[in-house]
């Protein structure tokens, strides 16, 4: 271990040379520089490797296979429906949590965020135990002729379950950041609560809400475990891109790589579109 040997002279000699005082001044910056380099390499090399290992022709030909196209379409459709539902239901819920005080609020917040730390396998089991045919609500769903397992609707439910907390958390923080004077002032002027929510709180919180939407969408596009356990895997019905990737991994590694590159590209495109299309109208403060 080299750290103690390095630290020794710095500690032992209070009146160091110029070089030593420079080291003393800069070591923290160097340490930070090294740590960001490690973090950057660790997080980007796997993504870069996917694209290095896939030839552009291979990527294009994977786009031509019906399995990839069906998986891509299903992924985009189910994640869009899941995210739209999350935004519609989650935005008012987050506004309420951020602007009202009530008993048990901390508990509600914790419960809403809980799925964030659940492993996907636990999410899958939980969904089966609650909404599966033998689950808590299975009988009620069957009576209402709602079937989720093995259905595209089940994929949407799984995606919404794992990605909703990301949006709710972000939206809660966003509305929490809207200054009280804005809301109270508007209310004092006689503006109705729904109008305050729609025309004051949402526009102010919009950049952060969009960031939350992007995070939730990215998570939904990448969901694997909960989808497989709850909705199953069937081409064109429940097999999203991540499930198709795992399917290909066992038989055709280059095809799995090409599909992975496709998923990265699509996810990046979704995130970029949200950023570029919807945020510039908000003037930077």
């Amino acid at each position: 271990m080299t750290a103690p040997a390095h630290a020794g002279p710095l500690l032992g000699e209070p009146h160091g040379s110029l070089a030593r005082s420079l080291v003393r001044r800069w070591w923290f910056s160097v340490a930070m520089g090294v740590s960001i380099a490690i973090a950057l390499a660790f997080l980007t090399v796997p993504v870069v490797a996917i694209f290095v290992d896939v030839s552009p022709t291979r990527l294009l030909s994977s786009l031509g296979s019906s399995q990839s196209l069906q998986a891509l379409r299903l992924s985009l459709e189910t994640s869009a429906i899941a995210v739209a539902t999350i935004v519609l239901v989650g935005t008012p819920a987050a506004y309420l949590l951020a602007t009202r005080r009530f008993r048990g609020q901390a508990l509600v917040l914790t419960l809403i965020e809980l799925p964030l730390v659940l492993p996907p396998a636990v999410a899958g089991i939980g969904l089966l135990a609650s909404l599966g045919p033998h689950g808590l609500l299975g009988g009620a769903l069957a009576a209402a002729h709602v079937q989720l397992v093995l259905q595209t609707a089940g994929v949407v439910v799984a995606l919404a379950f794992v990605s909703a907390p990301l949006y709710l958390r972000q939206a809660h923080a966003a509305f929490g950041g809207v200054q009280r004077e804005h809301i109270e002032g508007a209310l004092a002027l006689g503006i109705r609560r729904p109008a305050v929510f729609l025309h004051i709180a949402i526009p102010i919180a919009r950049p952060a809400l969009l960031a939350g939407l992007a995070l939730a969408w990215g998570r939904a596009l990448g969901e694997f475990g909960a989808t497989l356990m709850f909705a199953g895997s069937f081409q064109g019905i429940t097999q999203t891109i991540p499930l198709a990737i795992y399917d290909e991994f066992s038989s055709d590694f280059p095809a799995a790589l090409a599909l992975s590159a496709l998923l990265v590209a699509v996810s990046a495109a979704v995130l970029l579109t949200i950023k570029l299309l919807w945020t510039p109208s908000q003037p930077p403060l």
Binding site: M1, A3, P4, A7, L11, L128, A129, G132, P133, H134, G135, G138, V149, L150, L228, M229, G232, S233, F234, Q235, I237, T238, Q239, Y246, D247, F249, S250, S251, F253
Partner: protein, 257 residues
């Protein structure tokens, strides 16, 4: 003097990791095994003296793909003979040897009214099967291909879920998420009645053979060979038999390569 604390803490963590990594004197043997071997192999490993056995259970095709991508477990046990044979040709494992056989069955949840393969062909019955590349899925494809065309179409139309390994199919069955599924006889047995096995006609039954091989480059060659030997004629064979695998008809083992 606060600074020396950090290296000391780091040292403590490194020591703890080192201890947990090689706690005890036994070497650690890593075994990649087909998901259907879970119960039998776990029992076998509990009494396996030469090494501390750690498993990776998954679809045999995924485990083989990992080895082809450079993963180096010590032993690879597959639910078919073709994957180990392919890895042997590729020079990744030593000569594989068959150690057990199994049967494919149609399994249904305990309370199901389905009592025959024909009843699983009725419209509305959902069936889970393995993917095309996992052994349980390719055996299922064999079974279905041996049916008359009309029956084959009905059954194929009912397959609504393709699981990457047999564990997924059993899970869907026990949760009632599917009406039926093609699994191994041993999987149905291992659920202790949660799913019911429906035997397939002999004419449809595929040959389900399990092969095991020592992975080339294994750092624990002696222990890996002992593990394989136990499967062929020792405690492993008894555990396999106790869990419903067929071990009687196996020819005497070839040399371990």
């Amino acid at each position: 003097m606060r600074r020396p604390l950090a290296p000391a803490a780091l040292g403590a963590i490194v020591c703890a990791l080192a201890l947990s990594a090689c706690g005890g004197s036994k070497p650690r043997l890593r075994v990649s095994a087909a998901a259907s071997l879970h119960q039998a192999f776990t029992q076998y490993a509990a009494g396996f003296q030469p090494a501390d056995v750690r498993f990776s259970f998954a679809g045999s095709d995924a485990l083989a793909a990992q080895i082809e991508q450079g993963a180096k477990p010590d032993v690879f046990a597959s639910a078919n003979m073709t994957l180990p044979a392919r890895l042997f040709v590729e020079g990744l494992v030593r000569r594989p040897v068959q150690f057990a056989a199994n049967r494919l069955v149609l399994a249904v949840p305990r309370d199901s009214s389905i009592a025959s393969l024909a009843q699983a062909e009725r419209p509305g019955v959902t069936i889970a099967a393995g993917t095309a590349t996992v052994p349980v899925g390719s055996y299922t494809a064999t079974v279905i291909s041996r049916l008359p065309a009309a029956q084959r179409r009905l059954l194929e139309a009912n397959v609504r879920d393709r699981e990457p390994d047999v564990t997924g199919i059993v899970g869907k069955l026990t949760e009632g998420a599917v009406g039926a599924g093609f699994v191994y006889a041993t999987d149905a047995l291992a659920t202790h009645g949660a799913v019911r096995a429906i035997q397939l006609p002999a004419a449809l039954q595929p040959r389900v053979g399990y092969a095991v091989a020592v992975v080339r480059g294994s750092a624990h060659l002696r222990q890996a060979r002992a593990f394989v030997a136990g499967l062929l004629r020792g405690a492993g064979r008894a555990d396999l038999r106790a869990n419903g695998f067929l071990v009687a008809a196996i020819p005497p083992p070839a040399s371990g390569g």
